[in-house]
């Protein structure tokens, strides 16, 4: 190998490095001890990242004909890009520059100057050995398909789809249920302003349904995702609705005539009924009903067809089959929302056992004017108005038995419930809370308002809800047993109705969905963002973005914000038209590949496929994310990883152990 001409640049970083590392000695050492490895120039400078420091490097590259550069300074995560650019500007391939960390990994974490300087020498030695094996690389460029897939038609997905479509780019919006709207469509009022949810949501839904740049695919699910950023191929199954949407006018006569009523576990949260042919709710978008084949009398017995008989448009089509659609998109936004914690799991609160214990979602339907009780707050018998109501916070949240996290919305939601009960029934309302969490704009003001309305607040975790009475006042009541931690006493509070503010949980299938789209879930099951603070809408997989509760519990304003933010990120990508990808990739040397296929199943991105004709494995460079697992696993050493090759890692190891300096034990 012809010897490289290497420049070593040691940064003082003011006193950040120079305070603990003897930079002059280090520089002199690098120039001497590593000369036989090709180091032709070694310099130190106060701030290497400054324009003067960068000029120093650029000048040497030009005048000393350097072929490699090692900068010993801060973490590559801080200034790798800076120094690569400086080298590129001076005419050197940027990937021939290596930044080694002697600040975060040396001067800031060690105190002994001699030991720190010695370690810094090893670190530079490692960098020099490594950079010798670097190869010039070019970033890969992939074109960006301007179409976008949005998965989930709740408010997050609606917002994201609308922003992108309004900018003139096409959006495919896929929703599992027959209508978009998500959980927000189930609510009556929204905190803290008590806007009617339907009044602010349904106009947006209508715009989605009629938007020229949106293809709305309801009653559909994503089956498969292939490809990579800029060029995803998505397979969507559009379930048979048995209603021809070209003919249907959305008159809803079929719903009236359908003789089969079933409990609606989704939209009505199990509190109301729908027909076997149904729309989720009257303002559904699209307006077309679907036939639930599992409950349809015709599909069960071969008789009935009441809907078909009464449909003047002739839109009922019992022969319809599932459609498989292939979509090509450049970016994907996942806004798949949340599931409500199954309150039956908190057995001591009696949900499912004691009739008048309701979940928060049930109560939303109870207060909704379009709900099963027309908005009347009544007990499970459908007529009695409660005289006292207990609202229990943190059911399934902040509880080591179930979910450690705070579900964010429950405090405000419970305050809203308290207000609505008070306003509509005049009942006594008790809130049982652990901590009151009313952060964000106008939330605490709402809390003050509910306090002034005479709602009782009892701090503590409810031990039990029981119908066993100890006193005459408790007879025929639900008794809430709690330690009131503000007075340090056990209390029993009899009420007519109990509302459980149940936790928000990740969708039951979030793991499968994450796997399908090549992203990860946290321990709790929420989709993981690229960075919790600085990049909360992107994911580690390029081209896949997340929004709304799928990323973690959040209220409507935050959900809308995140939906819009995800859209903005996608629009940015689309405007770029093509995108540069870091050239950290694995490659197969065909001549060495034995075709054993060990690597094929190791790749999490299915980037490795087997070429049956050549009997070798082939890596799709655009799919490969560069983790290097296959490189490590290949028994034939047929796979090499650019920028992290075996040679580079081994050389760095060699350098770190100072084997390039030491006399070998045996020559």
């Amino acid at each position: 190998m012809p010897q490289e001409r290497i420049g070593v640049y040691v940064c003082h970083c003011g006193s950040n490095i120079a305070g603990t590392v003897d930079v002059e000695e280090l520089t002199a050492w690098a120039g001497e001890a590593l000369r036989h490895r090709g180091v032709v120039v070694a310099r130190d400078y106060k701030f290497m990242c400054s324009s003067l420091g960068q000029d120093l490097i650029a000048k040497d590259i030009k005048e000393d004909a350097l072929t490699r550069v090692v900068v010993a300074a801060c973490s590559p995560h801080l200034h790798e890009a800076t120094f690569r650019k400086a080298c590129a500007d001076a005419g050197m391939n940027p990937y021939l520059c290596e930044l080694v960390s002697i600040r975060e990994q040396v001067s800031w974490v060690h105190t002994d100057k001699a030991a720190a300087t010695a370690k810094a020498k090893a670190v530079i030695s490692g960098g020099v050995e490594r950079v010798i094996h670097h190869a010039p690389l070019e970033p890969m460029s992939v074109p960006i398909n301007p179409a976008t897939l949005v998965v989930g038609g709740g408010i997050a997905g609606i917002q994201a789809a609308m922003e992108i479509a309004d900018s003139g780019f096409h959006v495919y919006l896929v929703e599992r249920e027959p209508s978009i709207g998500g959980h927000m469509a189930q609510f009556d009022k929204t905190f803290p302003t008590l806007d009617c949810a339907a009044c602010i949501l349904t106009p947006k839904m209508v715009s989605i349904g009629s938007h020229p740049h949106i293809t709305l695919l309801t009653y559909s699910e994503v089956e498969q995702v292939d490809g990579y950023v800029g060029n995803f191929n998505v397979t969507v199954r559009k379930k048979a609705s048995y209603v021809n949407s070209d003919l249907c006018t959305g008159c809803s006569v079929c719903e009236e005539k359908c003789p089969k009523s079933v409990i609606d576990p989704v939209f009505e949260a199990g509190l109301g009924y729908r027909k076997a042919i149904y729309r989720s709710f009257p303002q559904a978008v699209p307006k077309f009903p679907v036939i639930d084949a599992d409950n349809c009398i015709y599909f069960d017995t071969g008789k009935c067809k009441a809907c078909e008989i009464h449909c003047e448009a002739g839109a009922i089509d019992f022969e319809q089959e599932d459609q498989i659609l292939e979509l090509n998109v450049g970016n994907i936004i996942l806004a798949t929302g949340y599931d409500l914690f199954d309150a039956r799991r908190e057995t001591q609160y009696g949900y499912g056992r004691l009739a008048n214990v309701f979940t928060s979602l049930e109560f939303e339907r109870l207060t909704n004017a379009a709900g099963p009780t027309n908005g009347n707050i009544v007990l499970r018998d459908g007529e009695t108005t409660p005289k006292s109501v207990g609202i229990i916070h943190c059911v399934g949240s902040r509880d080591r038995k179930f979910n450690n996290y705070c579900s964010v919305i429950c405090c405000m939601q419970s305050l809203k419930f308290a207000h609505l009960v008070k306003e509509r029934t005049g009942a006594e309302v008790f809130n049982f809370y652990i901590d009151m969490r009313t952060a964000y704009k106008e939330y605490d003001e709402f809390y003050q308002r509910v306090l002034s309305e005479g709602v009782h607040f009892i701090r503590g975790r409810v031990a039990e809800v029981t119908d066993v009475s100890n006193t005459p006042e408790e007879e025929d009541k639900l008794v809430i047993q709690i330690e009131d931690t503000r007075i340090g006493r056990q209390r029993r509070i009899p009420v007519d109705m109990v509302i459980l503010s149940a936790a928000l949980e990740p969708r039951h299938d979030s793991d499968e969905v994450a796997h399908q789209f090549g992203i990860s879930c946290s321990v709790n099951g929420w989709f993981i963002e690229k960075h919790p603070k600085l990049d909360p809408v992107a994911t580690m997989t390029e081209g896949i973005y997340i929004a709304g509760c799928a990323q973690g519990p959040k209220d409507i304003p935050s959900t809308v914000t995140q939906g819009a933010a995800a859209a903005a990120r996608v629009l940015g990508r689309i405007q770029q038209k093509e995108m540069a990808l870091e050239p950290i990739r694995a490659e197969v040397t065909e001549a060495l590949c034995s075709g054993c296929r060990i690597c094929n199943n190791l790749c999490p991105y299915t980037a490795i496929v087997f070429d049956e004709a050549k009997e070798v494995s082939v890596i799709n460079a655009a799919l490969c994310q560069g983790c290097g697992t296959c490189v490590a696993a290949c028994p034939s050493n047929a796979i090499s990883g650019t920028q992290f090759s075996n040679e580079q890692v081994m050389a760095q190891l060699h350098g770190l152990l100072m084997l390039n300096i030491m006399e070998p034990v045996v020559s």
Partner: protein, 167 residues
């Protein structure tokens, strides 16, 4: 052996997305740990080739620290589990070589766990210090062997030549 305290050399393999950033964070937070660990950045703990570890020992390291994202938080979905698998096998293998398996240690550290990583490093340095030097190069020399194992990469070069010759 003189009376000076034995200062082990430990090679640490880090994941670009979690443990390397944890090391950065330890620095930013000025958390102190002994200077015996020298880190190598990989894109993923799944990149760990067992040869790297053996080569580190052969080159004079007294211990090897492998660090990656917590299970379930891998940047590349689940490649850290492959690192786990390999590490467990490797610990059994080095034990058969007569090397204490504690010299290979696997630590999960997220990008937020700077203090945790620093503590894990400190703990490992103490443990290896108690174990004493590995001295593989010297032992190998006594047995008349070179201090470096036949590297996997050398075999690649050879086989590439062979392939070319064959063609």
């Amino acid at each position: 052996m003189n009376n000076e305290q034995f200062e082990p050399v430990i090679i640490g393999f880090t994941c670009n997305w979690c443990s390397y950033r944890a090391a950065d964070l330890a620095g930013t937070a000025r958390v102190k740990y002994p200077p015996n660990v020298r880190l190598i950045r990989l894109m993923c703990s799944g990149r760990i080739d067992p040869t790297f570890v053996l080569q580190a020992f052969a080159g004079g390291a007294d211990g090897v620290l492998i660090t990656g994202c917590h299970p379930g938080e891998c940047h590349y979905l689940e490649q850290n589990l492959k690192a786990l698998r390999r590490t467990m096998l490797l610990q059994r293998t080095v034990a058969q070589f007569g090397i204490e398996p504690e010299r290979v240690r696997l630590v999960w550290a997220s990008a937020a766990e700077g203090v945790y990583l620093a503590n894990a490093i400190t703990e490992m340095v103490e443990e290896i210090r108690a174990l004493g030097p590995l001295n593989w190069p010297q032992v190998a020399a006594l047995n008349g062997k070179s201090h470096v194992l036949t590297p996997a990469i050398a075999s690649v070069v050879v086989s590439e030549e062979l392939v070319e010759a064959a063609i």
